[in-house]
């Protein structure tokens, strides 16, 4: 599987994403700089976490307008796979590739901890290696992960089964207490309608080796590999 990771000024999970992709796919990803004007032919483009452009103005706003994003847009429009993790998710919403926005956390504080997620469906490109309704543990680390969309948009997301992951408690229930940031419907990650673009706040790339505290992030990458077979 051929992949590319886009780095923006002050991306800081780009290396983590790079390593995770290399470890799991066995192939080194291409490194794309935000000002690049050429994109190799790849199966997956990853927009990593971090604080692109300091998260100044709005998270992901300046990154979304980088030259390389036109290439990402073209790739996505051709049906190519794109993932945005954390800051990458914010970039995808700023680009309009995914609906809604990520607002400041309800607590107004940065939150770094391991959360439980429910895998809402296991038929998507990004979730097929998990069981349906599987409860997985993945870290979050963000200041602006509070997912918001207009009521009609939210409704469509739900009815189209575009919600990929939800914050849940130990009993797999999307409770208030399990929600680390105030997201509507406890949304942690969504896909576009066509299912080739995914954005999520949690960091699967941080949970791929036992020593990191867990390996539940692997399934995410393995799903993508499966779907390309």
């Amino acid at each position: 599987m051929k992949t590319a990771v886009v780095t923006f000024p002050a991306s800081n999970c780009d290396r983590d994403m790079f390593d995770a992709l290399e470890k799991i796919t066995g192939t080194k990803p291409y490194a794309i700089w935000h000002q690049d004007t050429e994109m190799p032919d790849v199966d997956l483009i990853a927009l990593p976490g971090g604080f692109s452009f300091g998260d100044y103005l709005r998270c992901g706003a300046m990154a979304a307008r980088s030259p390389a994003m036109e290439l990402v847009m073209a790739h996505a429009n051709r049906g190519g796979n794109v993932i945005g993790i954390c800051n990458g998710f914010q970039v995808l919403t700023e680009m309009g590739l995914l609906p809604g926005v990520l607002m400041r956390n309800r607590s107004l504080k940065f939150v770094c901890k391991n959360v439980n997620l429910k895998v809402e469906n296991n038929t998507s490109t990004f979730t097929n290696a998990y069981q349906r309704n599987q409860n997985i543990e993945i870290p979050v680390a963000h200041h602006d992960g509070n997912y918001f969309a207009a009521p009609n948009v939210l409704k469509k997301l739900e009815s189209n089964k575009q919600v990929a992951f939800r914050y849940v408690d130990d009993n797999n229930e999307p409770t208030e207490g399990a929600n680390p940031n105030g997201s509507q419907n406890n949304i942690a990650g969504i896909t576009n309608k066509a299912g080739n673009i995914l954005g999520m706040m949690p960091h699967p790339e941080r949970f791929i080796e036992e020593v990191q505290g867990g390996t539940d992030g692997r399934g995410f990458f393995e799903s993508i590999i499966n779907s390309l077979k």
Binding site: P9, A10, N12, C13, R15, D16, D19, A20, G49, G50, F51, F53, G54, D55, Y56, K109, F110, V111, C112, K113, P139, A141, H143, H203, E205, R206, V211, Q212, G213
Partner: protein, 740 residues
């Protein structure tokens, strides 16, 4: 004082010298070095270079006595940060620094720029920062400013560290009324470099260009006191805040750009602009290399209109570096900084004459021989008196608590001992994906990327102990980092220190300082655990009352095989709990006394360094042999608190039967005797460990079994682990949810 009415040649009066914080003797020395009266710019330069902060004039004499050498020390104190050999041509580079006063004035920015500053000290040496730590001391929780300061400081540390993408992996947090008017914010950074790619600050090569990179210079942080002179400020500008604002985005770019620059062979010397900005960086680079610098201040990138040379030299604008390049490499270097959108300006060159020569609008505004400026900086042997350690308190004079279970919950849920999760959850602990032990345990552990190795890091100091007895207290601080590092299975290598004290001109405070140095020296010598970097912060006081002496110690250890690491959480039902070390019920000066009796009487627990070494080496040997499944050192709050922390970490119960002899139970359980650990091991290995302990003459006794869902201490109390957690986890969120 904009440069239209700027007069560098104004006659320097005695008052001006005084306002710049220089004594008569220092004034005379300055004139002697220059061979004439100083210009205004020169006065500014001397005043910052000879400030306590830059010159270490009160502390130098004593700091010289610290042990700084070991075969694995590559660079000790004197460089931007200390460097140790961690094998395979790799080096760990680290340092701790204070940002106390700025954090009290503006907690968010003060703490944020503190993190920024210590990161620069480390990456300026060629290291990629891989971990941040923070050691924080606030006033009493009851003090009206404490919430505001705590929330601002934590947000500032997170705001900066999270953005630059360096995990903040641990620290410590204390509350005490002595910090009511003077909090302490000490930040530590650990970085990683190849040994053949370490960069120093000593400049060389006459004619080599001097380059300024990073952010533009503004009037940030120019000290109010040194500026406020009616004689030379005619216009009534809005009084400018002296607070520096951090820009972590720029810092991140600066880290990447500098590391990219340093991966080439273009750099002769490099130095961050820390306190006293352009002044200290250029003087240190020039004097360190025995050369001179000729700088054209017109070339300095400026953020504001009409900056004077005085302001440019004293500005503490953040995110700036000074670099000496090899000749003919300017364009190549510039391309890197252009790519990262950072300012890049050639501002001067190296000269043979050993002076710092500054020109501005065609005029020489300062011309100072750097060697005497740096080397002849004043050094004082300040008078001091020894702190007499208090008498041990008689156990008979302490009320015996009638319900130890309640006492236990009170302690676990106190400001002093409650969980700091509210703090560390605001820090990204995992970015870089190498954090293998998060906050909440004894030492943080961070893998050396793409290797089996890992570094263990801990910061410690118990100011209560240091106030009662600076020598024993400082020893204890060193020993506690050593123990915390040992408890995860790592071998302690070296320390950095951040020595926070009151006014050194007061003999009692100077006595605390001297005592603490003595303690650090003894501990480091016996433990073979040298001091490789550090920082001194004096004059921490309000209304003439000093803070508790706080020699914060940051220790770093090496774990060659990170798969051998253990944490504090027992793993399996049925595992055996063993207590290592001698428990004597030392309740004087303990957390128990402070929380329950609101007293800090008595001496701190004595530290037997040889015993520390023997017990610690024993524990580490068995961790590395795979015989131990969990380990926790015993510190604040004693045995009971340590057991509770282990139970909470694993969410498993522990059944304990104690053998307290004739020591009252509460003293046995909450006493803070040193050199102790609790380990857990599988039942099949327990006897092997106990036998080995006998052979090694280490005191070890089986005290319990992992079982059920309660911490059950026979004849004492039975408490559900969920109740322990409730008490432990709720204090800080509750406290912080109340608006100031």
């Amino acid at each position: 004082m904009t440069n239209s009415n700027w007069n560098n040649k104004v006659t320097i009066t005695k008052e001006m010298v005084k306002e710049h914080g220089l004594s008569d003797g220092e004034h005379k020395l300055m004139i002697k070095i220059l061979g004439r009266a100083p210009t205004l710019t020169e006065l500014g330069i001397f005043s910052v270079m000879w400030s306590e902060h830059c010159s270490y004039k009160s502390s130098k004499l004593h700091l010289k006595t610290l042990p700084t050498k070991a075969p694995w020390v590559i660079h000790g104190p004197g460089e931007n940060a200390g460097v140790i050999d961690i094998g395979d041509n790799q080096a760990a580079i680290f340092k701790m620094e204070s940002h106390n006063h700025p954090s009290y004035i503006e907690p968010y920015q003060g703490a944020a720029t503190g993190v920024g500053g210590i990161l620069r000290d480390v990456f300026t040496m060629g290291a990629r920062p891989i971990a941040n730590m923070n050691a924080l001391r606030f006033g009493s929780p009851k003090h009206h400013k404490t919430r505001h300061l705590l929330s601002g400081v934590v947000e500032g540390i997170g705001g900066y560290g999270n953005c630059v993408g360096v995990p903040t992996v641990g620290g410590e947090t204390n509350f005490h009324p002595s910090y009511n008017g003077n909090i302490l914010v000490n930040a530590m950074t650990v970085g990683l470099a190849d040994q053949d790619k370490i960069f120093l600050s000593a400049a060389a090569g006459v004619g080599n260009p001097v380059i300024y990179v990073g952010s533009k210079t503004g009037r940030d942080g120019i000290h109010g006191a040194t500026m406020a002179s009616a004689e030379f400020t005619e216009d009534s500008e809005e009084k400018r805040p002296t607070v520096q604002v951090g820009d972590p985005f720029t810092e991140k770019l600066l880290i990447e750009a500098c590391l990219e620059l340093m991966s080439t062979d273009m750099v002769v010397a490099i130095q961050d602009m820390g306190a006293a900005g352009l002044t200290s960086s250029s003087v240190e680079m020039a004097s360190g290399g025995g050369v001179g610098f000729a700088l054209n201040l017109d070339m300095v990138p400026q953020r504001e209109q009409g900056m004077t040379p005085y302001e440019m030299m004293l500005s503490e604008s953040q995110e700036r570096m000074l670099v000496v390049l090899k000749p003919d490499r300017i364009e190549e270097a510039k391309a890197i900084f252009v790519k990262w959108d950072l300012d890049f300006a050639v501002i001067g060159e190296i000269t043979a004459k050993g002076n710092l020569t500054l020109s501005f609008k065609g005029e020489i505004v300062a011309d100072i021989p750097t060697q005497p400026l740096a080397d002849n900086s004043p050094e004082y042997d300040r008078p001091w008196v020894k702190t007499e350690p208090p008498e041990t308190i008689d156990l008979k004079n302490i009320t015996v608590p009638d319900n130890l279970g309640e006492t236990m919950l009170t302690m676990l849920g106190s400001a002093a001992l409650s969980s700091r999760a509210w703090i560390w959850q605001q820090y990204d602990n995992q970015v870089m994906a190498d954090t293998i032990q998060m906050p909440g345990g004894d030492a943080a552990v961070v893998r050396v990327h793409n290797t089996e190795k890992a570094l263990a890091i801990s910061t410690d100091c118990t100011p209560r102990y240091c106030f009662a007895d600076p020598v024993e207290g400082a020893k204890q601080a060193v020993a506690e980092t050593w123990r915390n590092i040992t408890a995860v299975g790592a071998t302690p290598m070296a320390i950095t220190d951040c020595l926070n004290f009151g006014n050194p001109e007061r003999p009692d405070i100077m006595g605390q300082f001297v005592g603490a140095i003595q303690g650090i020296k003894e501990a480091c010598t016996v433990l073979n655990y040298p001091v490789i970097s550090g920082n001194v912060s004096l004059y921490n006081e309000t209304n003439g009352i000093g803070i508790h002496p706080t020699p914060a110690i940051g220790g770093v250890g090496l774990l060659k095989d990170s798969s051998k690491m253990v944490n504090i959480a027992p793993k399996r039902e049925g595992d055996v709990i063993i207590l290592i070390g001698q428990s004597k019920g030392h309740i004087s000066c303990s957390q128990y006394l402070s929380i329950i009796e609101e007293s800090e009487e008595g001496p701190p627990p004595p530290v037997n360094l040889n015993l520390e070494k023997k017990n610690g080496n024993f524990v580490r040997r068995h961790i590395l042999a795979g015989n131990i499944t969990a380990c926790h050192d015993i510190s604040d709050g004693g045995l009971f608190i340590a057991l509770a922390e282990m139970a909470m970490a694993s969410k498993k119960g522990i059944d304990v039967v104690l053998n307290e002899g004739d020591i009252p139970l509460f003293a046995y359980g909450f006493g803070e005797d040193q050199a102790r650990y609790i380990i857990s091991t599988s039942s099949s290995l327990a006897d092997i460990i106990l036998d080995a302990a006998v052979k090694s003459r280490v005191k070890a006794e089986k005290i319990g079994i992992v079982r059920g869902d309660s911490l059950d201490i026979k004849d004492c109390f039975t408490l559900k682990v969920t109740d322990l957690l409730d008490a432990h986890m709720s204090w800080m969120p509750n406290y912080m949810s109340i608006e100031a």
